[in-house]
């Protein structure tokens, strides 16, 4: 599969033979390296640990001048107060709706586009690929001004979840096309041709061969789209009023209005991050390689 080329194939190896050099390595050097690796892991993880324990600390503890490194009296109060905060549930539902609709739309539209550039050789194919790659690199935030004016003048979609969904769909569409293109290109063309010789029409080849075989690719791509749409807050924050926000924008607004309530804020941050973290861990292999596909062999 083209998308996965920079990830090495998983193979069973003996303990001593996992691609690590054995020649010219001293014992003391190994010890130093392991210690450095361990320290690195601890330093990297510390901020994550800190947000986790802060969310379980009662107010007296997180607002104390002397921080505690293990919560003395763990509590769920921060989570309940985040849940009961104004507009939290509304923002949660809005975020889920907008993200789900955008991902589904991008997946359908993107799959068709990916099918075209991966399975057909036609005049304009290179141009489409170039467009898809180029728009991916336009900082979306710089387009916020015209998009804001545009959605304002279309009264039907201004300040609605539909309007933001449209914007998010386009936000994740280029990557969706690019990644699915890789997955479809990875399906041997001979399969299509064999099926057509056996009497399948183009449509049947699509339903019976290409679509099922792209399944894992569709999952990975939609998860990536989910993460992007879920994490976005600036667009929705600018386009919509407080009733039509997502959780990220809610977090940001909460910070500005009562910036020192770190306990509930961190609880909100954790609730907001959970879906992203779970999905991310599920597909991280594809994300790293998808972004840099084939670079090493390139």
């Amino acid at each position: 599969m083209a998308v996965l080329t920079s990830t090495p194939p998983r193979r069973r190896t003996r303990k001593a033979d996992d691609g690590v050099m054995t020649v010219g390595r001293s014992r003391i050097g190994n010890l130093v390296a392991n210690a450095a690796g361990l320290i690195f892991a601890i330093v990297m993880f510390f901020p994550v640990y800190w947000v986790l324990i802060t969310s379980f600390k009662p107010q007296t503890e997180w607002s104390s001048f002397t921080p505690t490194f293990v919560p003395h009296a763990p509590t769920l109060d921060n989570f309940t107060s985040a849940f009961n905060a104004p507009l939290f549930k509304q923002s949660l539902i809005n975020g889920i709706l907008v993200t789900a609709m955008a991902v589904i739309a991008a997946l359908i539209v993107g799959f068709l586009g990916a099918l075209a550039v991966a399975r057909f050789r036609f005049y304009g194919r290179r141009a489409i690929i170039l467009v898809v790659l180029a728009v991916q690199l336009i900082p979306f935030i710089s387009l916020l001004i015209p998009i804001f004016l545009m959605l304002q003048s279309w009264h039907a979609v201004g300040n609605t979840l539909i309007g933001v969904t449209l914007v998010y769909t386009v936000l994740i569409l280029p990557y969706t096309v690019w990644m699915l293109r890789g997955f479809i290109a990875g399906i041997p063309r001979e399969l299509d041709e064999a099926a057509m010789i056996d009497g399948c029409t183009r449509g049947q080849v699509f339903w019976r061969i290409v679509l099922p075989l792209t399944g894992p690719g569709l999952v990975a791509t939609s998860v990536y789209g989910f993460i992007q749409a879920w994490n976005e807050f600036m667009i929705i924050n600018t386009l919509n009023d407080p009733e039509h926000q997502n959780l990220m924008a809610w977090l940001m607004q909460n910070q500005t209005s009562r910036g020192t309530y770190w306990g509930p804020l961190m609880a909100g941050a954790i609730i907001t991050s959970i879906p992203v973290v779970i999905f991310f861990l599920a597909v991280q292999r594809n994300i790293a390689s998808g972004l840099t596909a084939g670079a090493v062999k390139g």
């Binding site: 083209a2 990830t7 996992d18 690590v20 050099m21 010219g24 190994n30 392991n34 690796g37 361990l38 690195f40 990297m44 993880f45 901020p47 800190w50 947000v51 607002s63 001048f65 539209v109 068709l112 586009g113 075209a116 057909f120 050789r121 005049y123 467009v131 898809v132 790659l133 180029a134 690199l137 900082p139 710089s142 387009l143 916020l144 001004i145 998009i147 004016l149 914007v167 569409l173 994490n231 807050f233 600036m234 940001m252 500005t256 910036g259 770190w262 804020l265 961190m266 941050a269 991310f280 861990l281 991280q284 790293a288 390689s289 972004l291 840099t292 596909a293 084939g294 090493v296 390139g298």
Partner: protein, 307 residues
Amino acid sequence: MTRHKRRRRRGGDDVVIPWLLSGPALVLLALLLAYPVGRMLVLSFQKLGLKELWTGAAAPFVGVDNYVTVLSDSVFWSVVTRTVLFTAVSVVLSVLIGLGVALLMRRVSRTVRLLMIIAMMFVWALPALVQAQIFKMMTDSDVGVINYLIDKLPGVEFQNHSWFFTPVQGWIVITSCVVWAGIPFLAITLNAGLTQVPKELMEAATVDGANAWQGFKNITVPILKPLLVIVTTLSVIWNFGLFTQNWVMRDGKPEPEFQTLATYSYVQAFSQNKYGLGSAIAMITVLILLGAMAVYIRQMFKIGEVD
């Protein structure tokens, strides 16, 4: 050659079907990307303020006035300098550290490597907004754990230290956050690249008497180069567009010393209601980025052509 053969064999429908298939995607991209880009270009030559926005009156064209205003403003140039400086520092730091960590990962035991990967995965998975909020909390002048820890050092007085009082210290916090958040992608991608460096080659070099640095310089770097180019370009593009981190850490109201091109354009448009001026700044930002983009697109296009 194969391309011509195939086209001849399948006939004319190879032109219509692919365009039909990619049609919806192209329409959406045109509607919400191409049109806004065009609109932004036009806007950058117009004067659009609150009055035009409320009354719906046509925005008057002012020629290159917006660009003249922007380019002759010393504030704009200090924002550009700051953005470039931040990008350079943060990209160099994150690529160097990322490469160092990737190399370290090849050296440590399996358990330690697993721990390193787990720690990095959690950092990588956190939304940028949350990453920034964690750093904001940890450097808080009252309850911040960083102040507490530094204060513990002998002879250092750091209680109630305000990190954002001076821009240099504030930028140290922002840069730390960006580098911390960027390391996982760089280290894990580069580590994946390193596994493709044939171990036999390195071992042979070691047996022949090459030291670690020579092996790194003459074997590892050349093989890793295409990947290094891509991850560096990506980091430049991402960090140059810095928005979330300084936006969050300055409570959505960055002071002049904490503005970058992205926040500056946003503030001009949406806080000052100078949409034409904001568009001109955004146009200039995109133009500056085009250089970095070209490198990336060329590399990606080569890959896209292969299969």
